[in-house]
């Protein structure tokens, strides 16, 4: 039965809500903090910053990551930057404006109070990172530099060359290592969470596998924090790291945590197209390139001339043609859809005809090669390494790729899921980006959650549990560990013939074709037939070589894929159920004549939060109504 969820959002004036709320959160006495154990899963921006901050407060923290070091979490690959409403450029930026842009950018499917809190905290994140030694770009006077990013009309993006994510993560990683050194955090690298342990509706621990020895272990905590990132790898080919997976959030979902808006995914318009069937991942080329690059395809699909020899009147600059005022700088989802349409019409370029040109020739002519090199040299170099082509001489070829997922586990204003004691931070939760995330906002959210929200709200939760003993010596742990062992055995047991990757590619293609850039009821219905059939074949015919009690990368991949199979179905369910278009979710049945998303606020101004009912059972939808008290929902237009 559908229920209405309570997000516990405070009331009162928007700009005072977080302050008021914080003022009334309960505290834990400094001497009692060490009596609480908090388990943090994931060591990216959200996980590392939360672990370090909780440990500094005095809690006993255990942090887990599947990589060999917390420094390698995928936050490290973020290129562009991080937004903050500092208004250093005196161009009229403010907390309200950042809030407004983020709510509007999310196409009115996010929570106003959360987004305003995010905008408020953005300024403190920059302070914190600078104090840690993050080498942000600076001006000649020694003060911090900003740039405009992702079509914003103000310059509020802080950056560290094209490696902002790396430098922010290293800042958080160093804070984490400081606390490990002080004995406040125990780090478990090369360890993967395989189940959440829930007792009487409350998260009490996890089951994990040591990826080096294969050992299954149980860990008890007073609170469990999931900061395990997004699920773009359901598509197989995405810009995510190979190891990025949905297992932690999916296992939590199976244990009762509601999954919100799984169909809200972001397809980034500018990535390097696949070059063959061996392709293992896709590489993003920063959105900032569209500031100086012009997107085009030849008017004649059979034009085989090298791009430089195609005269201007034989080119279709389709973004500039369709969107005269925003041109090449239209938002990510609009750009991605237009590029896909052009390629689907057979006008794609490159050996596989699977990309469009992003051409810098005009900018080089206008500004000189040096200016372009100063702005993009590291990206041009990366492009050349991968493709063997030099973007100074021949246009880049680009194509959209799955990149970020706005959906995630449902959380209330305190970032706690409906499972008591289970907190979800960063990309793993759903709360701040609505149906579309703006550029340079992911890093901001991960760090806001970890540094400045969770340390307060987790303390508030723990204050009610003083004196409670935790132990793995309880039936819930024994049962969950046995189920995990059983599952691993089943994955290993098959005398199957097909590799894990071959199944993952096939699943990825189904999800990409029917639940990718554009969706429709017919396709989604078809996907909902294809996925369970393929899932059954997977369990029957997958081949996992190697032993269980040692490093076994095939077994790791198989377990993650098994969860992606179940998740993919939920994602298609949600996409089918949300019979409107919004942000990155374009239902072809609901678009304007120009192909713009048509929202249906009457019927769909809510968060869909799904409850697991078992494999082969339809999930149940619960709703969190969205109220817009401060920003009037409007329709985007980029004409």
């Amino acid at each position: 039965m559908t229920t209405i969820l309570d997000s516990k959002v405070p009331t009162g004036p928007l700009e005072h809500r977080w302050q008021e709320h914080r003022d009334h959160l309960k505290l834990v006495n400094p001497n009692n903090k060490r009596k609480f154990t908090v388990l943090v899963l994931g060591s990216g921006l959200a996980g590392a910053s939360a672990s370090a901050s909780l440990a500094e407060l005095g809690y006993d923290v255990k942090c887990f990551c599947f990589q060999d070091s917390p420094r390698r979490a995928h936050s490290i690959a973020a290129q562009g930057g991080i937004n903050a409403a500092k208004n250093y450029k005196n161009d009229g930026d403010s907390v309200f404006r950042l809030f407004y842009d983020t709510v509007k950018g999310g196409d009115f499917r996010s929570r106003e109070s959360n987004v305003h809190r995010l905008a408020e905290l953005s300024v403190r994140i920059i302070d914190q990172c600078v104090a840690q030694g993050v080498p942000f770009a600076r001006e000649y006077g020694g003060l911090l530099d900003n740039r405009s990013f992702g079509g914003a009309q103000v310059s509020r993006t802080f950056y560290a060359r094209g490696q902002t994510g790396q430098q922010l993560l290293l800042g958080a990683y160093q804070a984490l290592e400081k606390e490990i050194s002080a004995g406040h955090v125990t780090m478990f690298p090369r360890t993967e969470m395989l189940d959440l342990v829930v007792e009487d509706g409350r998260a009490v621990g996890i089951i994990a596998r040591n990826l080096t020895t294969g050992e299954i272990s149980a860990h008890a905590g007073h609170a469990v924090v999931l900061a395990t990132g997004g699920y773009s790898n359901v598509y197989y080919l995405s810009t995510n790291a190979k190891g990025s997976n949905a297992t932690a959030i999916w296992r939590a979902h199976r244990r009762g945590a509601l999954f919100a808006n799984p169909c809200f995914t972001q397809i980034h318009p500018t990535c390097i197209p696949a070059s063959g069937d061996y392709q293992s991942k896709l590489t993003l080329m920063s959105e900032s390139l569209r500031n100086d690059g012009r997107v085009w395809v030849p008017l004649d699909p059979n034009d085989t001339r090298p791009p430089a020899q195609i005269p201007p009147d034989a080119r279709d600059y389709f973004l500039e043609r369709r969107y005269p005022s925003f041109g090449n700088l239209v938002p990510r989802d609009v750009a991605a859809r237009n590029i896909k349409t052009v390629v689907d019409e057979g006008k794609g370029v490159g050996p596989q005809k699977n990309g469009v040109y992003l051409d810098f020739a005009d900018s080089i002519k206008r500004l000189g090669r040096k200016v372009i090199a100063d702005r993009y040299d590291n990206l041009f170099e990366m492009y050349e390494k991968i493709t063997g082509e030099n973007p100074y001489e021949t246009p880049m070829r680009i194509y959209p790729a799955p990149h970020y997922t706005m959906g995630g586990l449902w959380v209330d204003y305190n970032l706690m899921s409906n499972v008591t004691g289970l907190f979800v931070l960063g990309e793993a939760n759903f709360s701040d980006h609505g149906a579309n995330r703006l550029g340079a906002s992911a890093l901001m959210q991960g760090l806001a959650d970890g540094y400045f929200v969770a340390p307060y709200t987790i303390g508030n939760y723990l204050s009610g549990h003083l004196g409670e003993k935790i132990s793995t010596d309880r039936p819930a742990f024994t049962a969950a560990a046995a189920e995990t062992q059983e599952r691993l055995k089943r994955l290993k047991a098959g005398s199957g013939k097909r590799s894990v990757d071959s199944f993952h590619r096939e699943l990825g293609k189904i999800v990409w074709d029917y639940c990718g850039i554009a969706r429709n009821a017919q396709g989604l219905t078809k996907a909902l037939d294809l996925i369970p059939a393929l899932r059954e074949e997977f369990w029957r015919d997958v081949r996992v070589l190697g032993a269980e009690g040692q490093t076994n990368q095939e077994l790791e991949k198989a377990g993650r894929l098994a969860d992606f199979f179940e998740f993919a179905e939920l994602m298609c369910w949600d996409a089918l159920d949300r019979d409107e278009s919004c942000g990155g979710h374009l239902r072809e049945e609901h678009q304007t004549e120009d192909g713009e998303a048509l929202r249906d606020d009457e019927r769909f101004s809510f968060v869909s939060a799904w409850e697991w009912k078992g494999a082969d059972q339809p999930p149940t939808r619960h709703e969190e109504p969205l109220r817009f008290e401060f920003v009037e929902p409007s329709r985007r237009s980029y004409k």
Binding site: G133, E177, T212, A241, L284, I386, L545, T551
Partner: protein, 257 residues
């Protein structure tokens, strides 16, 4: 193209290992080195042979997970390139390639081409941070940092911690890695209060982990995928010597008093 690969196979940390020879058939020149290994692993699995284990994650040259020796060179023949960004167009049909894990006493082999680089994390734990707690930071623009200084600090901070520097060094030294972190933080105004303690503790940690001593071969700089300069080693040594000569007392990192 077809390649002959001689690959180090070792089932576990304590098991003996040996080189095995495999033929990789029909490799496309546009695939990356790791994608070539994916293809080979697929071909091995077809024959019931367990796939070759190697570390990798982002596959875009920034996470620092991947890396092994290709014909004796860390990350292979292309300068400033990790193996995930190395593409097969730089090899030719019929090439014979020897793949071995990083060679260092401080990086024990876990399996095949995977090693344990936990020693790097422990070096960072010794002082590779600025002791600021969450919430204590002043306004970001309160302390100006001259741009050239910030840029040089960035050059050092670009290190991805892959371990190639150690693997290529004839002495198995970790000086390039350690000096990059020491320099990143010691160059910045925010890093000054702990500057000398940092240099002292991190150098000591490096020795404790069993890494060798630097004798200026500069092999590390040549293979570093992020072009970290050995100038940083000189900078670290200067701070270390100053710290020694000043007899700096190790300040308690927990503060108080």
């Amino acid at each position: 193209m077809d390649l002959t690969l001689h690959v180090w196979r070792q089932p576990g940390p304590n098991a003996p290992g040996k080189m095995e020879t495999y033929e990789a058939k029909g490799i496309n020149e546009h695939c990356s080195f790791l994608e070539m290994l994916d293809v080979l692993n697929g071909q091995l699995a077809e024959r019931g042979i367990e796939p070759i284990a190697f570390d990798h994650d982002c596959r875009e040259g920034i996470c620092g997970s991947c890396g092994f020796m290709i014909n004796g060179v860390a990350h292979g023949p292309m300068p400033k390139t990790t193996v995930c960004q190395l593409h097969m167009r730089h090899f030719k049909n019929g090439d014979a390639l020897h793949l071995e894990p990083w060679r260092s006493r401080a990086f024990p082999v876990i399996k095949d081409l995977m090693v344990n680089r936990g020693a790097f994390d422990r070096i960072v734990q010794a002082g590779g941070y600025i002791s600021v707690t969450t919430g204590a930071a002043p306004e970001a623009n309160l302390v100006p940092v001259p741009k050239p200084l910030a840029d040089t600090a960035f050059d050092a901070a670009a290190c991805i911690g892959c371990g190639a520097c150690v693997a290529q060094c004839p002495n198995g030294a970790a000086s390039l890695f350690t000096s990059a972190k020491v320099s990143h933080l010691n160059l910045l105004p925010q890093g000054q209060p702990e500057r000398f303690d940092r240099a002292l503790s991190m150098v000591e940690a490096m020795d404790r982990e069993g890494f060798g001593y630097c004798s200026n071969h500069a092999e590390c700089e040549a293979v570093c995928p992020k072009e970290i300069s050995i100038d940083f080693i000189a900078r670290m040594n200067r701070d270390y010597l100053k710290a020694k000569s000043k007899g700096v007392m190790k300040a308690s990192l927990s503060g108080g008093g």
